[in-house]
Amino acid sequence: MQILFENNFFDLFGIEKAYSLDRQLLRDRFRDLQKKFHPDNFASATEQDRLVSVQYAALINEAFATLDDPVQRGRYMLSLDGISTDEELDTQMDPEFLMQQIELREELDAARSSSLDALNRLSDKVESDFSARMARVGEILDGADDSELDRARHLVRELQFLSRVRREIEEVEESFY
């Protein structure tokens, strides 16, 4: 048995469909919904009620995780407009960005064998690249000009790249302890 959910995630939480969102409100609404639909509420209900509640609770979790994360939120909003950010379907990237990525990787490799300070400097740089792109994505997605959506798609894909670098920086950081 599958549940059918045809609304978008913003509707689920009753918040305005916008990239710039009130994270506190989102979290409050998320909690309110789980207070009603989490399987713990159905521990003594029928087996079927429990199964359906697991699916709804999972949907609410997925919706929250998607909207709470800036990259996921960008991907999701573009997908609502029928724009895919799937990497396998589109391998074209801005050559300049790719060059920067290669440089970042090299710096990461260098930091691995040097110091925590070098790693922190690299991390600051990635964070500022990340924030700048996030802000721009927000402007486009919340703006009125749909002709820029393709630019947003590129930016979201770049954000995906940067989040991967972020994770690698974290792994290198762990190796220092």
Partner: protein, 626 residues
């Protein structure tokens, strides 16, 4: 209003009947059982007024198994048959515990077995059976103190337990004849005990160092919701490891190389090592007394600062997961409002000092660190059984380790990331890679590493019946579902031709259903009980549960979501279950319950769909009125 009732089913089912439910902390070193009595959660004591049950089981030739203190007393005399720290072995393969085994005196049967069994004078025993023995004693204790049969239990597990370890714990409970309502993560249970005690709001880290496991969880407490933001840990690190380091130090000190292979002597050294560690909690120095062979004795003195140096590696090892947990939660140390210390090993002074120095935050040690987990589990049990005597709350937990499947080149593709809030479902599509390929094998793994060989293998299965097509056009959708216990189920669907093939996962680890059944038979033979009678009783309870839950749902929402013929079909089905139940054929009762469940599926879905629409509409109304 009808929809409100859906969210509070506990209050609609027999509101006057108080049902018995307990929380159980199944620990590496000690186990406890707690229950909510008169609105207050408390640990249940044994006949001699003791709260702890040592997690030690001694098997004897005459089949008269000793559990708890009597077994603990024989640890040194009968090391091969007296099993302690079963929790460190549960849900692990022989190869997984190889390093661990070097420190254990036991002999294992089959090297290649999925479930290692220890050879005892009473036959081979797995960690699952050992745990079931401990659970049985706690169950009896609870039924004696509460004066009635238990309707349900909540059992705690380390947050960092993987799927196999959780499943094995549930199997142990099944062997002990318990209705497990939930496997609850230990740090979350501790947070409940603290949160309700102090009415706190904010972000807390729970540092839980037990006998053999370490967990760190970061939670946000807000208006009765306990939201785990991230968890990390090490399911093979704890006080036992400190004891071992101290024992190794003792062995170095005494200069009797020939004794380092003497199992009985080694057990004695472990026992005095632990005693020394405990003594140094309150004293600055202690004297370790050793009995050497042929009646000789030797005294060794140890002071606290030397011990701190000896055990430092264990404590330092806990700090890396703390760092990772903070990062996964997206927080800095400064965002944490306090650290809750849980687990017997946090009594060790240098643990407290190092944790305080790391987080630079206030430590909460108010509730007994050994009781706090059982207390929290009891509160959750009280809520899940529908009594709600301590008020309402909701626990939102996470999956500790990523789940993925094997892709080409022996690599793992992650499908559900660690620290995703549960329950969680994810689906992923895979395509055939050969022309005419009609089967696809799927290997499910758990862990953070990229290579298959570095992750825990959870299950392997083969999806057959894919219509032959050119490479890349056969599509298989693999769906993962992790429920609120953190347990995984996987199904795969071949969807190219519209004919769907479903496969359910058979675990490649742990016990098969048949093995559990056999153990159940064996254990009941031991207890000279009647398996048929027990199974019938259990099925009848299931039937009653199904009927009463559906009755109350129908009473509230039957008219709103069912037409007349659907309604009467359900009533008829319920009656027929009642008739089958009274007759007493175990299989037929099981079948009738399944039939009723299937028939009531659309009803459940419609109610819940309406409920979610209502909740969404509620938001919008709020918006206008604000």
């Amino acid at each position: 209003m009808a929809l409100l009732q859906i969210s509070e089913p506990g209050q609609t089912t027999h509101p006057h009947k108080y049902r018995l439910a307990v929380g159980i902390d199944l620990g590496t070193t000690n186990s406890l059982v707690a229950a909510v009595c008169n609105g207050e959660a408390k640990v249940l004591l044994d006949e001699e007024g003791r709260s702890l049950l040592p997690s030690v089981v001694r098997f004897r030739e005459n089949g008269d198994t000793q559990i708890g203190y009597p077994a603990l007393a024989e640890v040194v005399n009968d090391p091969m048959n007296t099993i302690s720290s079963a929790k460190r072995m549960i849900g692990r393969k022989t190869s997984d515990i190889k390093t661990l085994r070097d420190h254990l005196p036991y002999q294992f049967d089959d090297e290649s077995a999925n479930v290692p069994r220890i050879i005892t004078v009473d036959g081979p025993r797995s960690a699952i059976e050992v745990s079931a023995e401990i659970l049985t004693v706690l169950k009896k204790r609870a039924e004696y103190v509460l004066d009635g049969e238990l309707d349900g239990v909540v059992i705690t597990v380390p947050a960092y337990f993987d799927d196999a370890q959780r499943q094995a714990t549930k199997d142990a409970a099944r062997l002990a004849g318990m209705n497990v309502m939930r496997l609850l993560n230990e740090p979350t249970a501790a947070a409940v005990a603290y949160g309700l005690d102090e009415g706190s709001e904010g972000v807390y880290a729970i540092y839980d160092l037990g006998g053999g496991t370490f967990d760190i969880s970061i939670l946000r407490l807000n208006k009765g919701v306990f939201e785990v933001l991230a968890t990390a840990g090490n399911s093979a690190l704890g006080g036992d490891d400190m004891d071992r380091l101290i024992a190794e130090w003792i062995l170095d000190e005494i200069d009797h190389a020939e004794l380092s292979t003497d199992n009985q002597f080694l057990r004695q050294v472990m026992v005095v090592a632990r005693a020394a560690k405990e003594a140094l909690t309150d004293n600055d120095s202690t004297v370790i007394k050793l009995c050497l062979p042929e009646g000789a004795t030797q005294d060794i003195s140890l002071n606290r600062s030397s011990m701190n140096d000896i055990i430092a590696p264990v404590i330092d090892k806990t700090l890396l997961p703390c760092r990772r947990c903070l990062r996964d939660a997206g927080l800095d140390k400064a965002d944490i409002d306090g650290i809750v210390m849980v687990g017997g090993s946090t009594r060790v002074c240098s643990v407290k000092e190092k944790v305080e120095a790391f987080f630079q935050r206030k430590l909460y040690t108010g509730v007994d660190p050994e009781q706090v987990v059982a207390i929290g589990a009891a509160v959750q049990a009280d809520i899940l059984i529908g009594n709600h005597t301590t008020g309402d709350m909701l626990l939102l937990d996470v999956i500790p380790l990523s789940l993925g499947i094997e892709i080409m080149g022996g690599m793992v593709e992650k499908i559900i990331p660690r620290n995703a809030t549960i329950p969680v479902t994810r689906a992923q599509e895979f395509t055939t890679y050969k022309d005419g390929q009609t089967a696809m094998s799927i290997h499910v793994l758990q862990g953070e590493r990229e290579r298959v060989s570095d992750c825990r293998s959870l299950a392997r299965f083969e999806l057959r019946g894919i219509p032959p097509m050119v490479a890349g056009s056969g599509r298989v959708k693999v769906s993962f579902q992790v429920d609120a216990d953190g347990l995984l189920s996987v199904s795969a669907t071949e969807a190219t031709t519209g004919t769907e093939t479903r496969v359910d996962v058979k675990p490649s680890y742990g016990l098969t259903d048949a093995e559990v059944e056999q153990m159940l038979r064996d254990s009941i033979v031991h207890a000279s009980d009647d398996i048929q009678a027990r199974q019938l009783a259990e099925r009848r309870v299931d039937a009653d549960r199904a009927i009463s839950a559906l009755e109350s749902a129908l009473a509230v929402d039957g008219d709103a979501y069912l037409n007349e013929s659907e309604h009467s079909a359900l009533l008829e089905c319920m009656k027929s279950l009642q008739r089958v139940k009274d007759k007493g054929d175990v299989d037929k009762i099981k079948q009738a319950i399944n039939t009723l469940n299937e028939l009531s599926g659309p009803f459940a879905t419609r109610r819940m769909n309406a409920s979610i629409r209502e909740a969404m509409a509620g938001h919008n109304i709020n918006e206008f009125s604000e």
